[in-house]
Point group: C2
């Protein structure tokens, strides 16, 4: 089950960018004269080292382009260096002006130019069209996620291997933890901790800048690979509470949140995930989670995406601070009819960030075949939702616990190329996203009424499909083409001829010539149907079923 | 498809009670000296008739038993009669004291005795055990609902026929509208309207007491039959807005809500449903629906159950004023794996009040077979949720639109006896309700871990089931009995012998002798498995799958 990465030109270019970004720790340096839109402008200042700069020194800066002013917090980066980072969202001339309770840091001012974004920079990802995502420049973001919880806590060569794997993968979003986890520490123990002091005896009053500098760098490398970083701020995977990162006092938690937002908020690829399996963090209450959201929201001037991921107990994602829904529920994506349910409930994008994992683990949550993983992506996709991948493949005799889910490295499953294929199908689909067409009556089909239909048969194995579509958006004579998609073999086979819509009954249209489409009678077959001519019909505002 | 009501002794007794309750409109009369707990104490007072008593006169009363005081609003009932109704929740001596802005109604005081509730009076239904219901005295309430939207707007003989049908039915909850609906008016037009003036030209400043007296009486008759009244306060079924009941000014809406709560809040069988298909009421916004909940909650000292029912758009049932979730989504109860999803999301009882209807309607929302209706009840039940019935069977050649859903009368479908059978199974089940056992891994089984399992195979037709249960609550040697339930034929067949639990793997126990259960290979088969001996095992607090 070895996955062979395919090396492409774009991969090699991206990889070069990754290594170009590996820089030594910097001291205070002159502010840049220009930065691209949605890039990170960084102001580095030399300031006091006496006392405890993390607690004693306040620093912020106002950034203005004459039309609006954005105030952002700075942070102490160790060694007498203070930084303020800013992500401008418009081109032109911007100025800054600092505020501090210490003289050397206050009333610093300057001017810089924001240039147009470079080719692969589309800005931060936002919610679009209620259930979907788009970059700030309007480019649709079709999420194909994966999870590597603690890849940034591994030896440098492993971390670089993970980046190479990602560069060759279809994944455009990665879930990862700030804090280390117990799993996998026997062979690759963490060497950096977020606080000063020993890893097991943290000094909560002082951050460890080196820890965060490393994290910044890795997040920046993901950005340069075009990978969104869904950063998990808390998690329950410190099994014996040895590091004390799930038992911090509330004021330390809030300081940590503000510190990481000050450091990473200016990275356009950041998403904030309050937790993984929040309800398994037994030391916190639901009110704590509400508070974390509010602290992050107040600190982040860019309004990056915010979510929280569940274990057994689902958070109230109807809370106003939740931008999209990050769910664990593998059963929900076994078919589109289940997957769609959360959409209506939350009226936000639904991301199934954990649907069980591919693998051969002794635990049942990581025993999916690669085929089933691909199936779950397709089931979620036609339901108008998004799905996340990870894997836990253990090599025979390997006791190192070195698996993609926890540590990164290489992919061993067979789903990744199929997910690349799916991503291409999604990117060729409606810009506004795929939505259910007739949600409580025919969940197997999603798309855009009258324009585009993606019909997924899942584990059914039909040998024929009588051409029939729900009435919305279709008129007599609307013309469609059809293609048969084999989701595993990654083939798209056009069906000869065209289909001309003819009203069948109150609800549906069929082909005027009464044609059916012959199907291969196997698992994982989809149909793609697109309008190629004729006029569109109206989309009814009537109650369902009338 | 004619349903034949079965006449039983209890039915005849109940029916006698119904007709005993048909009393002429009363003038002010002496307050009763005693009333049973959760009965309705009614104080009738003679007061002013000048001006507009609905707007000009305020009336309330404090009821106290020395330990607590409950303040309830009175209402004008026409003809110079003002009433204050009160539902005491404790036995003993209670006093009342009135307040009014008019002299004849104020400072009235009195004493009465509250006796123990009579045999079939268990008090109002409340949420119990998060996902379930119980009467105030602790008796579990196992909901088997039906819907007759506007049965109280029909000729007296039809309304009485509806009551006889209910008396012989399994239904212990009825959804019904306050307002008339357009459907079915051609043959049975409404003759009473809630406001003075013509039906199509309401005088919003004056209620029509006769309308509400009729409604009170019918709700009381349901109470006497043991049927909870899920009273729908607004609906979209005034197709041309001819009655103006969906276009009232906000202050009239609020006054209407307070008036109906003052009249009916003291009926123990009342549930408040803000709407049917709320989102199809195009004249209102979501903020209006939030407000209605808040008005009702503020007016109702008894905290009766509150819900709202959707068309296409699901309300935010996570709002704190929603006591349980009233859903339309037929697809969700086609299998337990879908049905359970809303439980986690809302952490409240889930009632699928509309799952499509039995019938032969031209519209697809009323084309279920009786078998499919029974199936949906079972699918919802093992998922730990509750389901509602209604039917729309049109007789050949009948153009009267006289169907149970809208008008009441008789049941023509075949599901009712099967739902009576299911209700008996539910009542014989765990008092605290049926919950999923292993929710995201085996949704076909619900019950109580280690004690009781109801496994429903739905449209599968297995011929054998290898005895295997999830680990929670089971230990080595726990002994179980099993029965095969045919949900359509209404038979319960014991499986000979017993099953002795033996650990199979990390997750499950099987029978020590390796036994399977032979099944009849047909649709709609369930298994009931109950612990008969041995010790129970622990219920794990571990994350799922560990």
């Amino acid at each position: 089950m070895t996955y062979l990465p395919r090396f492409s030109l774009s991969y090699l270019v991206a990889l070069a960018a990754v290594f170009a970004a590996v820089l030594p720790v910097r001291a205070a340096e002159p502010a840049p004269a220009q930065v691209e839109q949605w890039g990170t402008f960084e102001l580095a200042l030399t300031g006091p080292t006496d006392g405890n700069p993390f607690l004693d020194v306040t620093l912020s800066a106002d950034f203005s382009n004459g039309q609006k002013t954005v105030t952002v917090d700075g942070f102490y980066d160790g060694g007498g260096v203070y930084r303020v980072r800013f992500m401008p969202d418009a081109t032109g001339t911007w100025t800054y002006f600092t505020h501090s309770n210490r003289w050397p840091l206050t009333q610093k001012r300057g001017v810089f130019t924001v240039t147009a974004p470079s080719k692969d920079n589309h800005g931060p990802v936002r919610v679009a069209n209620t259930y979907h995502f788009a970059y700030a420049d309007g480019t649709p973001f079709k999420q194909i996620g994966t999870t590597c919880y603690t890849w940034t806590h591994r030896p440098a060569e492993v971390e670089e291997q993970t980046l190479r794997t990602l560069a060759a993968s279809p994944f455009n979003k990665l879930r990862m933890c700030v804090f280390p986890q117990t799993h996998g520490t026997s062979t690759m123990p963490p060497t950096r901790f977020p606080f000063a002091g020993e890893g097991t005896k943290p000094d909560y009053a002082r951050f460890n800048p080196e820890f965060f500098q490393h994290l910044d760098r890795r997040v920046g490398q993901l950005r340069d690979l075009g990978v969104e970083c869904d950063l998990i701020l808390f998690h329950p995977y410190d099994d014996e509470h040895i590091w004390g990162l799930d038992t911090m006092p509330p004021e330390v938690e809030d300081r940590y949140l503000r510190y990481i937002v000050a450091r990473l908020g200016a990275y356009r690829n950041i998403w904030w995930s309050m937790a993984n399996e929040y309800d398994f963090v037994r030391t916190k209450t639901e009110a704590d989670w509400d508070r974390y959201f509010q602290v992050v929201m107040a600190a982040d001037p860019y309004d990056h995406l915010r979510s929280i991921h569940n274990g057994k107990v689902i958070y109230n994602h109807n809370q106003p601070w939740v931008t999209h829904v990050s769910l664990q529920n593998g059963l929900a994506v076994t078919e589109p009819g289940k997957a769609q349910i959360y959409r209506d409930v939350y009226r936000r994008p639904i991301v199934y960030d954990e649907v069980e994992y591919e693998g051969n683990h002794v635990y049942r949550w990581a025993q999916l075949t690669s085929r089933e993983m691909v199936h779950r992506f397709w089931a979620g996709t036609v339901a108008g939702t998004y799905v996340g991948h990870s894997e836990y493949w253990v090599q025979p005799g390997d006791t190192s616990e070195f698996v993609w889910l926890g540590q990164g490295g290489v992919l061993r499953g067979e789903s990744a190329p199929r997910l690349a294929f799916l991503r291409k199908v999604m990117e060729d689909g409606p810009a506004g996203g795929i939505d259910p067409i007739d949600k409580w009556w025919e969940p197997r089909v999603g798309g855009k009424p009258g324009e585009y239909y993606l019909w997924y048969f899942g584990h059914e194995k039909p040998t024929s499909w009588p051409f029939q579509l729900y009435r919305d958006g279709i008129a007599e004579g609307t013309i469609f083409s059809a293609e048969i998609i084999d989701t595993w073999e990654m083939t798209i086979t056009p069906v000869p001829g065209e289909f001309v819509a003819k009203k069948k009954d109150r609800y549906s249209f069929v082909d005027a010539a009464g044609r059916s489409i012959a199907l291969p009678g196997k698992d994982g077959i989809a149909l793609r149907i697109r309008r190629t001519g004729g006029t569109q019909g109206e989309i009814s505002d009537k109650p369902p079923g009338y």
